[in-house]
């Protein structure tokens, strides 16, 4: 009985998505969005780390300003790409 | 300096350090290592005097302990040829007859003298292909 129940449960579990059918969505676009989001997070982290490096004396004022400008420009570029990708994206299901 | 030249220099330095490490490791390993021998190999060949070997085999039943000196024989894992060993020091807890041990030995006369602190008894679990116990 236990064995039968276990087999039935396993079959029901793995067959569930097959019965529900395919979901829509462009996998490539979703991957691109996820990639850009992750890159944006990493860039924001880099900006904050640079600021913390400056405040804790590892970067001079001049070096930090140059680096901060560069990083923010890179972040802006990522946001533009992210917005363009979001405009193309269908709502996620 | 040209950046690509800098990179080349760094690469050469790193590679040289790695090669140096590898060479030193190989040289030290081969010169400081101990040859592993089974009892039958020790018994059949004449070991060089003072040469240290790592003896691997099973403890033969009937060993005797007197004070902190134990006299026992070690046989091949899959054979009967054995050699006599004396060991000065506490025996590890798992040590007993028919257990596999590893010990560094030096030939002294007719027996092999176990080097202090080198006696290791393998954990006597059941991770074997032999199912005869069940």
């Amino acid at each position: 009985m236990l064995i039968a129940l276990m087999i039935a449960a396993a079959v029901a579990l793995v067959a569930g998505p097959l019965r529900a059918g395919a979901r829509g969505g462009d996998a490539n676009l979703e991957a691109e969005l996820a990639e850009l989001e992750a890159a944006k997070e990493a860039k924001y982290r880099e900006i904050r780390d640079a600021e913390l490096d400056y405040k804790t004396g590892k970067l001079s004022d001049g070096d930090w300003r140059v680096l901060d400008r560069t990083l923010r420009a890179e972040a802006i570029d990522l946001l533009k790409r992210l917005d363009r990708a979001q405009e193309r994206a269908e709502p996620l299901t | 300096m040209d950046p690509s030249r800098k990179r080349s220099i760094r690469f050469v330095v790193a590679l040289s350090a790695a090669l140096l490490l590898a060479t030193a490791l190989a040289y030290t390993s081969f010169s400081a290592s101990t040859e592993a021998r089974q009892p039958s190999e020790l018994a059949s060949a004449t070991p060089a005097p003072g040469e240290k070997y790592q003896l691997v085999g099973k403890v033969v039943a009937g060993y005797k302990t007197s004070g902190n000196v134990t006299h026992f024989r070690v046989r091949d894992r899959d054979g009967t040829v054995s050699v006599p060993v004396t060991y000065k020091g506490n025996l590890p807890d798992p040590f007993r007859a028919d257990r596999e041990i590893v010990i560094d030995v030096v030939k002294k006369g007719a027996v092999y003298e176990g080097q202090p602190g080198t006696l290791v008894t393998k954990c006597p679990s059941k991770f074997t292909a032999d199912k005869s116990q069940t």
Partner: protein, 732 residues
């Protein structure tokens, strides 16, 4: 229950086979429903293996000797706590533990990431399910824990006394959790290479899994070291045993990855290096499992040759071949456009750190496999001992500590020499102060230890400086009180400051290793009651012998313990009473007499340990029971003669009387006992350091609240400025 358990394993195997196929088909044919079905197959495999695990545990708890594995690894006299752990003392049980943990961790990770990594998930699932096919296949076809015993027995063999330690409950599960969790970044690395998506998304997902695995594996390694220290009778915590080394190697490569991935995240550099590290870590994680079961290397853990060496070798070979193929065929795409800006940068220090960690791993790998290398070169196996390892590991470790001190105080991308000098001055002074203090105190017996302590001062000085400056900057902006500013600083920069805490833990451990290795004092002595021995500044007095008979809750004899009370203290100071014993467990060998079977079975030493942050006092006794041998043999003869005249109950009563007589004889007329007496400085720092590492790792890896959310359209520069300030948007 045997049939049910075996059925569970078959369901797990079938789920794994189906799931791997469905995931790959779904990926190739762009059928997301099959990918989802493949993910559910992981859940099904986890469920079936969990059920099998529970059924086997129930069998152990109930001492169901119908199970061959229960009969050979447990007994009715084994305490309940150890009956629960006995399962993974066996080959079959440990493989089931592996499959169970693989299923659980894979399910958790795949569930958590079910809406992300859609391109990678199918291939990662297939790899994880491939592992499942392998382990479930071994369990179903070669080493089933649900095998019926050929000849029923009334009593089991019992758990090996060496494994009767609380560490048994957590050390193998933690170690195996580390190994199975390392399978996950391996799987995602393979998936990323197949799909050629090896950028920020892959890092964002792989790093937390690797951190968690690194913590679990590291904790498992430390637990093993601690167990060795207080359970085994040689007073050490590490012996460069092949199986120990095999657990350390993936931990080292994972450590390297956790550092170098930050370079990839920022600069897009080292992609080939990082993916190679992850792949190597996954292979090394399987290697440890292989070494225990193959018998190819001499090890205290290598339980002898089994039938599983070849399958594991094939798995490892396949993993290596696939890894090399994938990296080689994607190398052009992986090559970075960016280059190292300057050797005076945190990137350069991290790179140095990586090279040192990989060098350490290589040294340990070489030493571990040297017997086979030597056999290939010379035709004979040769072995190297701890001194060879230490000759290379110690200098590399010292350089690693130096790099650990420089890393936190140097900027990313490019630091100026002047700036670096300014930031290194105070930590360097801290190191020199430590050096001067130690020289003044006369702690000069070991140059290596002195260098390590100096470098430790340097590293800790740098971390304190970082924390102080960060808190000061935070307070300048927020006007928070000091404690709150510290918490806010750490909360907003979890990765950085969690990393610093981990470094503190590592340094604390290294200081403990240096002190305990360099200044340990050991004496092996023979003492009669009342006699003393001196070890360092401590005097050990053998007060009296002890002898106890321990019975299990069911009334059956569990063990006899012969031991000693020792009084220990410094001259003129307080003393402590310690107790150490050697426990004798009865053998099930029917050829032994009823009395002698209690003295010819397994033994284990209960170490006397008085631990403190300054010194551990450690003592182990080896009682001399040779004088009791005549009485033991006489007892056997008496029982043999009276065997037909005694009922079972009477035999038990006489046996108890005989054993009590022997214990009384031992305590009334004790022979000299041998003791190993040790004074181990600062060993406790290893355990404290490990706890600090766990704390630091949890801080660094703790997920942010809420995660990122979609942004509204706004002017980009203002948007960056606003979002950068919101820590919840940016996982620290």
């Amino acid at each position: 229950m045997l049939v049910a358990g075996q059925a569970c394993l078959i369901v797990a195997l079938c789920s794994a086979v189906y799931g791997a196929g469905a995931s790959l088909y779904g990926a190739r044919a762009r059928r997301p429903e099959f990918v989802a079905s493949g993910r559910r197959a992981v859940y099904a495999m986890a469920g079936a293996s969990t059920l099998a695990f529970v059924l086997l545990e129930i069998a152990f708890v109930n001492s169901d000797f119908e199970f061959a594995v229960v009969a050979s690894h447990s007994s009715t006299t084994t305490p309940l706590f150890y009956r629960l752990t006995a399962m993974w003392s066996s080959q079959e049980g440990s493989l089931l533990l592996w499959l169970f943990l693989l299923g659980v961790w894979s399910s958790v990770i795949l569930y958590v990431t079910r809406h992300r990594l859609r391109a990678l998930a199918p291939y990662a699932q297939a790899v994880l399910l491939g592992y499942g096919v392998f382990f479930a296949g071994l369990l179903v076809f070669l080493e089933s824990p649900f095998r019926r015993i050929a000849n029923p027995v009334a009593e089991g063999t019992g758990l090996n006394p060496l494994l009767r330690d609380p560490g048994m409950m957590i050390h193998p599960p933690m170690l195996y959790s580390g190994y199975t969790l390392l399978a996950i970044p391996f799987a995602f690395a393979v998936a990323a290479l197949i799909t050629r998506r090896l950028d920020a998304e892959w890092i964002r997902s792989t790093r937390p899994f690797t951190l968690f695995a690194w913590l679990a594996l590291g904790f498992g390694i430390v637990l093993g070291a601690r167990w060795s220290y207080h359970e085994l009778d040689w007073g050490g915590y590490w012996m460069w045993d092949p199986v120990e080394n095999a657990s350390l190697m993936p931990w080292l490569t994972a450590t390297a990855f956790l550092h170098s991935v930050m370079i990839q995240e920022r600069r897009g550099m080292l992609r080939i290096w990082n993916v190679s590290l992850v792949l190597a870590t996954g292979v090394l994680a399987i290697l440890g499992t292989f070494l225990v079961r193959s018998g190819v290397l001499q090890s205290i853990h290598a339980f002898g040759a089994s039938t599983l060496g070849v399958p594991f070798l094939l798995l490892i070979g396949g993993m290596i071949a696939a890894s090399i193929y994938l990296v080689a065929t994607r190398a052009d795409q992986l090559r970075s456009r960016n280059r190292l800006d300057s050797l005076l940068s945190r990137e350069a220090i991290f790179l140095l750190n990586n090279l040192l960690l990989v060098a350490l791993c290589f040294v340990i790998f070489w030493g571990t496999f040297f017997p086979l290398i030597a056999e290939a070169v010379t035709g004979r196996q040769r072995n190297i001992g701890p001194p060879v390892y230490e000759q290379f590991v110690v200098p590399l470790a010292l350089l690693l500590v130096l790099a650990t001190g420089i890393g936190p105080v140097i900027a990313w991308r490019r630091a100026t020499a002047a700036n670096l000098r300014r930031n290194l001055t105070k930590p360097a002074i801290a190191g020199l102060v430590v050096l001067a203090a130690l020289i003044a105190l006369g702690v000069t017996g070991s140059v290596t230890a002195l260098i390590m302590f100096t470098l430790a001062g340097f590293v800790l000085g740098g971390i304190v400086q970082e924390l102080w400056r960060g808190v000061r900057a935070r307070r300048a902006a927020s006007r928070e009180p000091l404690p709150l500013a510290f918490v806010s600083l750490v909360r907003r920069n979890r990765r950085r400051y969690g990393g610093y805490f981990v470094h503190v833990g590592i340094i604390v451990m290294f200081v403990g290793v240096a002190a305990s290795s360099s200044f340990k004092e050991v004496h092996d002595v023979s003492l009669n009651p009342g006699e003393k021995a001196r070890v360092g500044d401590y005097e050990f007095t053998y007060v009296e012998p002890t002898a106890e008979i321990h019975a299990a809750p069911n009334g059956r004899l569990e063990r006899i313990a012969f031991g000693a009370h020792l009084r220990v203290g410094k001259a003129g100071g307080d003393t402590k009473l310690l107790h150490t014993s050697k426990d004798y467990f009865p053998s099930q060998d029917p050829s032994l007499g009823p009395v002698s079977r209690f003295f010819d079975g397994e033994t284990t030493t209960e170490v006397a340990l008085d631990a403190s942050l300054y010194n551990d006092i450690w003592a182990a006794v080896a009682p001399d029971i040779v004088r009791l041998r005549d009485r033991i043999e006489e007892g056997d003869r008496l029982f043999e003669r009276a065997a037909d005249d005694l009922t079972g109950e009477q035999a038990g009563q006489f046996l108890a009387l005989a054993l009590r007589g022997l214990t009384e004889r031992y305590t009334e007329n004790p022979p000299a006992a041998r003791f190993r007496l040790e004074v181990n400085p600062m060993v406790s720092w290893l355990w404290v350091g490990a706890l600090i590492i766990v704390f630091g790792g949890l801080v660094a890896g703790w997920p942010p609240r809420g995660g990122t959310s979609r942004t509204v359209t706004a002017k980009y520069a203002a948007r960056v400025g606003r979002e950068v300030r919101e820590p919840e948007r940016v996982p620290a």
